[in-house]
């Protein structure tokens, strides 16, 4: 019940296209859903996050869509750029509790110029 499942494992998108990464969770006690971006040799960087009281959050080219009833959330990267090429991790936590993050398996995104 603690798992977060992420798909796809890898994704190739043309410059200017939309990248979509999906995650599903089981534990309905989770109340915080962040996305992290990680470049090789670096630590994960917080990209955008959502709480279950809203269905969508947008920050620049990055949007999280959240479906509470389906227990799914997704990251959309609009107008994808080669600089977006990285590994993306979704995560979930009970921020109101310890806040320890349960991560998805990661998606390697390659944006072709």
């Amino acid at each position: 019940q603690q798992q977060v499942k992420q798909s796809p494992q890898s994704l190739i998108v043309q410059k200017g296209g939309i990248s979509i990464i999906n995650c599903a969770y089981e534990n309905t006690a989770f109340d915080y859903f962040p996305w992290y971006q990680q470049f090789p040799g670096k630590g994960p960087a917080l990209l955008i996050a959502i709480r279950p009281d809203v269905s969508e959050k947008k920050e620049g080219r990055f949007t999280i869509s959240f479906n509470k009833s389906a227990k799914q959330f997704s990251l959309h990267i609009m107008d994808s750029q080669p600089g977006d090429s990285a590994t993306y991790f979704c995560a979930a936590s009970r921020g109101s509790n310890t806040g320890k993050l349960i991560f998805g398996q990661g998606t390697t995104l390659q944006v072709k110029p």
Partner: protein, 116 residues
């Protein structure tokens, strides 16, 4: 301001030796986490510290792993009698607990541990 810092950035050790990894959290962040990132297991939680509360050690994989946090700031993760399966990147994260960003965790660059 300064982010989470970790040292060393890389550590190569022989099987059976003990290692200590250090984390300096963001100033004012009262919660501190250790995670491990490995090819086979992905990103997994190890331990959590918050103020003077007892740490949540539920993610530590064996009793060879321990961690402490001194003065509510710097933390040290110790691995005794290292094994080859301990090879991974060890990541530290901190979060503020209060305020509008109270759920947000910020990660350090990690320590890459290689056990030969």
């Amino acid at each position: 301001g300064a982010g989470v810092s970790q040292s060393p950035s890389n550590k190569v050790t022989e099987k059976g030796k003990d290692v200590e990894l250090r984390c300096d959290p963001i100033s004012g962040h009262t919660a501190l986490y250790w995670y491990r990132q490995s090819l086979g297991q992905g990103l997994e939680f190890l331990i959590y510290f918050q103020g003077n509360s007892a740490p949540d050690k539920s993610g530590l994989p064996s009793d060879r792993f321990s961690a402490e946090r001194t003065g509510g700031s710097v933390s040290t993760l110790t691995i005794q009698r290292t094994q080859q399966e301990d090879s991974a990147v060890y990541l530290c994260a901190s979060r503020p607990i209060q305020g509008p960003s109270s759920y947000e965790q910020y990660f350090g660059p990690g320590t890459r541990l290689t056990v030969t």
